[in-house]
């Protein structure tokens, strides 16, 4: 049986959802976007344009929940199925949009560059337990107006895995959509085989900005999947209780779903989020806090109750370096998320409140992901009954190392992590240089980079991507893209 975790019973889920709907219908939320307000007004919501205020109706919410797909798939740049976001299927993707980069060579934090990003894409390409790329951090060597689209460009040019991404402005959507159309060839092909997921964030409490609400509408127009990333902060800009936070998260997320489904019914969405508690001692929002992770799993239960695929920023840490805290917070989050059956689990590689990315951490996290993926396979009988034969053989031979049963099931039953995880006895560990975790991670990065093979995307498509990106850069006064980018 597949192991699971549950934080809410059905009665509590229904009460939370009812309260969330009540907030939307009775109190309403703010949306700073006339186009969004018009869509909602046309759909039957009660809109006060001058106050950017909208009150939803129960029918509107029901229709949106009815038209949102129960699940969907992502396809890689070659059009092959890569990620199944449905049921209790679990997929990992690196954390997104870090401003900073932890330089493995110096141990110092700095702004990332194009070269860092390409290295990241190459490494992710070879990671067995990371299903998709994310636009994990923001290269600092291009104009900030293209810092969102440029990441997608590099990912599509150098990697094959689908991309979890998002725009920072309304304008950037065009180029980010065009890059995808260049890969797929047509709008219909992009709709048939989604290549990316765009993160769209309401602004807690109970508000949508012009940019992010427009992103929701724009994505819907092209059938580009959206993950809603509400960020209520318990005890700060959300009730301090986890239930209260969940009510707010429900309202904020449902509002996004309604907007997206009004813009284009059937647009794929993920019931996601990045809520956190508020640590009053440091005035921080710890992503690795156990309550944060509990909220994540609980809202995923609500998403599943509503029949929707889910997402969470959970397998990450607030540590500043690859240390024990990084391992424990990431492991706890990844374990809970996998047990909760969250479909798109974001976070690997991320440190410092989602603000600093580390390649060394990413390769360690890849192993954490591998272990949790094994865990959710659960415990199943595999040729175990009747068992007397196995034990007769064991007593006779003294071991079962090469028994038929062992040979048949060893590989699927026992997950062997990569060399980052130290399982050598002390003598062998010493013989091999007494390597620290950091050193093993660094060696693994080098190994993955050496094993990288360039994307099979045809050269003419790659050329078109570069042409589109170069033209976009020129709009902002950059004559050329950084040399390493092509």
């Amino acid at each position: 049986m597949r192991p699971t975790v549950a934080f809410l019973n059905r009665e509590l889920i229904e009460r939370i959802v009812a309260e969330g709907r009540d907030i939307l219908c009775r109190m309403g939320i703010a949306i700073h976007n006339p186009a969004a307000l018009k869509l909602l007004s046309d759909g039957g919501a009660v809109v006060d344009v001058s106050r950017h205020h909208v009150r939803f109706t129960s029918d509107l919410i029901d229709r949106a929940l009815g038209s949102a797909p129960k699940g969907f798939k992502l396809y890689d740049v070659m059009g092959e199925e890569a990620v199944d976001l449905s049921g209790d299927r679990v997929n990992y993707t690196p954390g997104s949009a870090a401003l900073n980069f932890l330089d493995g060579a110096t141990g110092l934090m700095r702004r990332p560059t194009t070269a860092d990003y390409i290295r990241y894409v190459r490494i992710v390409s070879g990671m067995p337990h990371i299903a998709s790329q994310s636009t994990a951090f923001i290269p600092g060597d291009v104009h900030e107006k293209i810092s969102d689209s440029y990441r997608l460009y590099l990912s599509l040019l150098h990697g094959e895995k689908p991309v979890v991404t998002g725009t920072f402005t309304i304008d950037s959507f065009e180029i980010m959509k065009d890059l995808q159309l260049a890969v797929r060839g047509s709008e219909a092909a992009l709709k048939a085989k989604p290549l990316t997921v765009f993160s769209c964030c309401p602004t807690s409490p109970l508000k949508w900005s012009t940019v992010t609400s427009q992103n929701v509408i724009d994505c819907a127009r092209y059938h580009i999947p959206v993950e809603f990333v509400a960020m209520p902060l318990s005890g700060f800009i959300a009730p301090v209780t986890l239930v209260g936070t969940l009510i707010q998260h429900t309202a904020e997320t449902l509002s996004g779903i309604v907007l997206s489904q009004l813009a284009n019914p059937g647009t794929p969405i993920l019931y996601g989020g990045s809520p956190a508690i508020f640590d009053v001692r440091y005035e921080t929002t710890p992503m690795g806090a156990v309550e944060t992770e509990m909220i994540d799993c609980a809202y995923a239960e609500i998403g599943k109750y509503l029949g929707l695929p889910t997402q969470a920023y959970i397998a990450l840490s607030d540590a500043k370096q690859l240390d024990a805290q990084a391992g424990l917070e990431t492991s706890m989050g990844a374990t809970l998320a996998a047990l909760a059956g969250i479909n798109n689990i974001s976070g690997p590689g991320m440190l410092d409140f989602e603000s600093c990315f580390s390649l060394e951490k990413l390769v360690v996290d890849n192993e954490i992901c591998g272990m949790t993926l094994r865990m959710i396979q659960g415990i199943e009988p595999k040729g175990d009954f009747p068992s007397l034969g196995h034990f007769t053989e064991l007593v006779r031979e003294g071991h079962l190392l090469i028994s038929k049963h062992t040979r048949r099931y060893r590989q699927e039953e026992i997950h062997l992590p990569g060399p980052v995880i130290d399982r050598a006895n002390r003598s062998r560990w010493a013989e091999e240089g007494s390597k620290t975790l950091m050193e093993r991670a660094s060696a693994e990065i080098n190994r993955l980079e050496a094993a990288y093979t360039p994307s099979r995307l045809p050269d003419d498509v790659k050329g078109e991507l570069t042409r589109l990106m170069t033209a976009e850069a020129r709009r902002y006064g950059m004559d050329k893209l950084p040399r390493e980018s092509r």
Binding site: G398, H399, I402, R410
Partner: protein
């Protein structure tokens, strides 16, 4: 592929049935038992030993190859004088008195056989005298002791003392292995070497017997 190379490869693949079939075929083709032993079975196990040492393959792979080697050896045995397989030397192995753990010792035994040595395996819970008596009676140049428990490792020093008492120190080499023992412990009790694992044990035996 040449028949012996094919045989060696089948052994490396751990395919005991194929090894038996090809051994028969090689004999039918007029090859000598010694030729088959040296150029296919032992050479195949040498490759396996080296790959195991390089961590390219793992214990079960070695065991499968060893089993395949025995499938060939069984067919060759009757062809050697008095059923004696020509060996590179004799080694007495066993787990010391009071200790029933024999997995490590068994691995050493398998690897030594694979390397072409004749192994006299005394099993587990073996008293000190039996090691020394057997080695003397069989003309073995090496005794290998295994212990898993800290409570039984002192028996190793009793074997070393017995060898000394009978004036055999140096003539019969004493090698020790097992989780609680170490290089330092080997020196402390007057053993000739400590083998960290089965591969190391073969290396040490190679070294000692080459010198003689």
């Amino acid at each position: 592929m040449d028949l012996l190379a094919n045989l060696s490869q089948s052994l490396q693949d751990g395919d005991d049935e194929k090894v038996a079939a090809l051994t028969k075929e090689a004999l039918a083709a007029g090859m000598s038992a010694k030729q088959i032993l040296d150029n296919a079975l032992i050479s195949g196990m040498t490759v396996i030993g080296n790959r195991f040492k390089a961590h390219e393959i793992f214990l079960p792979d070695v065991l499968l190859s060893a089993r395949a080697m025995y499938a060939g050896l069984e067919l060759l045995k009757p062809l050697f004088l008095k059923d004696d397989i020509p060996s590179r030397g004799k080694v007495v192995v066993g787990t010391v008195q009071g200790d029933l753990h024999d997995i490590g010792k068994n691995l050493v035994s398998i690897m030594l056989k694979g390397a072409g040595y004749e192994v006299i395996d005394l099993g587990n819970d073996v008293p000190p005298e039996r090691f020394v008596d057997t080695a003397v009676a069989q003309g073995a140049a090496i005794i290998g002791l295994s212990a898993l428990l800290t409570t039984t490792m002192p028996v190793m020093s009793q074997v070393a003392a017995l060898l000394k008492e009978r004036g055999l120190t140096g003539r019969i080499k004493l090698i020790i292995g097992g989780a609680p023992v170490s290089d330092a412990y080997a020196r402390e009790i007057g053993a000739d070497a400590y083998g960290f694992d089965a591969v190391k044990a073969v290396e040490i035996v190679d070294r000692f017997l080459m010198r003689q």
